[in-house]
Each structure stands twice: as C-alpha cells, then as structure tokens.
Symmetry: C2
DNA sequence: GTATAATTGTGAATTCTTGAACAAATTATA
DNA sequence: TATAATTTGTTCAAGAATTCACAATTATAC
C-alpha cells in the first residue's frame, strides 16, 4: 500500500518539522519542505496525503498536528526493540547512535562471537553470546535485527533471527540474505555505495570538464548548424 | 546513460565473481548470479550488456574476462582518493573499512574539528584540522568526500569540499545538502533507514498474523463463494 | 462583500526500472 | 552431420515512482 520511499521521506519530514517546531514555526507549505529536501512540492503533498492529514489551501500544513499524524503513522504504539549482531567498528557506531532510546525505537541487546566482548556493556547496551540470541530476542520482544558482521555466517544468523520472531532486518553485511516473504530486509552495502559515489564522482568531473571545454570553444548549436548548411 | 542501480549491481556482481573465482569457478550463467542476489536473470544480462562484454549462448559468461570488464567500467585507471570529514564513531568505522587501499579506492585523509583528534592516526589515516581541507584535498587529488558529521555544518563543509575539487559526496549527515549539478551526492541516512526497517517489520508481523488467522479459519474463496450462492 | 492571489489534493502524463518472452546463437548429443 | 537443448541479447510490455497541471478551496486585500 505505502511505498518504501514514502516511508523514508516521512521520516525526513518529521526530523525537519521537529527542528522547525522548536524554532517556533507553526505552519509549513509543501514547497518549503520540498526545497529543504530538494524534491518537488507535489511529492511532499502526495506523501502527506497518505497520512490522511489534510493541509489548508493557501495556508499550508499545521506543523504540530502534522507531526502527530506522522508519528501515528510511522511509530509503533508500544516502544519497539532491536538487536544488534556484531560489535565491530560499525556495530559500535550503531550502538553509539541507537542504543539509548531513540524515538520509540532502540537497540536493546548486542551479540558477538568474541568471548572478550561478551558480558561487556557498550554505550549502555549489554553484549551477549551468540547462543543467547533466541532467548534474548524473546525476552526483549525485539522485532528488528541489525547485522553488522562479515558475510560468512550472515545467512545462518539471519535464519536464527527469523525463527526467533524478528520480522525486519537491517543488513550491513555484504551478503544478500534470503528470507521468507513475510520478513522485510534492507541492505546497506557501504562498499558498494562507496564505489558508486567514486564512479559518479569521476563521471561528474569528466562531464564538468567537457562543459568547460565547450564554454571555451564557444560554438553554439546554431552557429554550428550555420556552418554545416553553408557548405 | 548508465543508471545508479546498474552501477550498484555491477559492484555486487564483482564481489561475488571474485569469490567464485578463488573457488575455482571459471564460467557463470545469468541465472546463477541472479539467484545469489535474488533478482531476475534478465536484469543480470542487461547490466552485463552495458559493459560491452558478451556471454556465450548455452554456456554463460567467462568469469575472468567478465571481471576485467567490470573493473574497466567501474574503476578509475588511476587510484582514486577520498577524504573523510568527522572522526566520530561512524567515521572510525569507515576508516576501519576503507582506510587501507580497497580496490582502486581509499580514504587518504581525515578531518575533525576536535583538536585532540588532530595529529593522530586512525587505522593508518592521519587526522588533519578542518582548515587544512582545501590544501590536503589538493595534495591528495581526492575526488570523493565523506561526511560523517552531525547536520549543523554539513552544508558549509560540503561547499568547501566542492570548491576544493571534490565531485562526489557520500553524506551520512541527516542534512540534505545542496550542490551544483555537476557534483554527485549519495545520502545514507541511518536513522531514517532504521525507522523504515522498524516500520515494515511491524507491518510484516501484522501481515503474517493475518495470514495465520486465515489459515486457522480455513475458508477458501471457493467455499466462501459456494456459501454465498447457496443462500 | 468581492475580487485576487496562493496553496492544496489529485487525475493524467511522463520517466525510470523491471520483467516476460522469444529469436539467434552455441554447445552437446545422438 | 543433424537434432535437441539451453542460454544469451534484446524487444516489447508492465510496473513503479515522479512530475505536471489544474480544479477546488481558502486566506487576504481592498
């Protein structure tokens, strides 16, 4: 019904709106939000439409109720828990960001196969041994699992997560895991992303240089056409 | 000409193919790659087509030359450098992954406003003060900038990066930065991603429970129709 | 009040991406 | 050597996401 992209944007709208609210702003118009995110106003209106919330023509949206609508739509009524598998560098960074309660959502437990990490607390989050996965997920009633591990065991760990009741997985491992159709997976592949940026950076540079060349050898299409037809 | 999605997938193909090659495999067929990534074979063939490389009907693709084609397409002929701004938890994790040479691509310098970090070396990468940005980018001929900072100064730092010659930005900050059209930006918003996964996890769970309910109250559409028409 | 200007909500058009399908090509096999 | 079987390259259709464009609606100015 609602698309992934819409959900992502709603999350962005919320962050911006919260900031604007503390700055004292009370209403906002679609093109303002659009400008902040560099998207088109129609997109903003469409997304907000899906919330069921209505703006006021010639006046915009009231921020406070709009925020309520977004929260209503995005957030679980009850606080929602996540578990992290893999307390490496990336895992630690994620804990630093999401271990403390963050909205209705927080990482509640971490797991690592390294015995020296088990038992420790990182950013307020306890690290358990891998064989406690099922138990701790049940205890914390977690629904989200975050994989911050190398690819090797990703699939089997993922299977354990799903068996334990996890229905959403945020996968930072390079392996594309397979899940049954009633589990949601988001792949975040930092290596691939890095490569992509590098690829397009190079292209942009080439493009810019071509443009520069064109500018310097100022020959408009019109002039060019003239040259051709004159022959 | 070539889409972002295609570039991303080519990067994934490469990683898989490299692995398969060390395992001794010499050829691969589109459906094999497709199965590993859970996409359709036609997509794989399409992507490979764009490389200009041709497979062999009834036999597949030869892995070694295919890998060469991908490298030819994705990689810069010269090693390409990136700089990282923000040596917080996330920045450190990125350095741990990408500071050493990684393919033709590496993070060559880091920057932080915290004086206690400046001068230190993290995962083999030196940390410079912010005001050295322009100089170090020029020296390292970097084309990619990675922003791993909070949103506040993201725009002004981004502007500096672009002025210094950066043409690709990987932005982990929550702010959607604005750049001229000849600069490529990729936003990776971990908070929004986390929220998205949480949202769909909840939905999947609901969906699964509905399905379960349907199963338990076993009434097929046919039976239902029968009941109706019998009345 | 009335007219004007501006903004929303949304159907239609457009663009981008994916999938299905099949001819052409190639290997394997009888 | 001919036949069958299989996989590629590619066209065309389908699907998804975005953008346009405009009627409906509301605030504001006069």
């Amino acid at each position: 019904m609602v698309s992934e992209k819409t959900v992502e944007r709603l999350s962005l709208y919320r962050r911006i709106l919260q900031q604007l609210r503390v700055e004292g702003k009370e209403t906002i118009m679609s093109h303002e939000l659009a400008n902040l995110l560099h998207i088109k106003p129609a997109q903003v209106r469409r997304d907000i439409m899906q919330l069921g919330y209505s703006g006021i023509p010639n006046s915009g949206y009231k921020i406070r109720p709009l925020l309520e609508s977004i929260a209503n739509f995005l957030d679980s009524p009850l606080p929602q828990s996540a578990v992290l598998v893999g307390v490496g560098h990336l895992g630690l960074a994620l804990l630093a960001n999401f271990a403390g309660r963050w909205r209705q959502l927080a990482i509640r437990a971490a797991f690592d196969k390294d015995p020296s990490k088990v038992g420790q607390t990182f950013h307020g989050c306890r690290c358990y041994p891998m064989y406690d996965l099922q138990k701790v997920i049940a205890e914390t009633k977690s629904v989200v699992g975050i994989l911050a591990i190398p690819g090797e065991n990703a699939q089997s760990i993922c299977d354990t997560l799903v068996q334990s009741g996890i229905s959403g997985i945020l996968n930072f491992s390079p392996l594309r895991i397979k899940v049954s159709e009633n589990v949601f997976v988001e792949h975040v592949d930092l290596s691939a992303t890095f490569e992509k940026v590098s690829f397009f950076a190079r292209r942009m540079k080439h493009y810019a240089e071509e443009e520069k060349w064109k500018m310097e050898n100022e020959t408009t299409d019109d002039e060019y056409e003239t040259i051709i037809t004159k022959q």
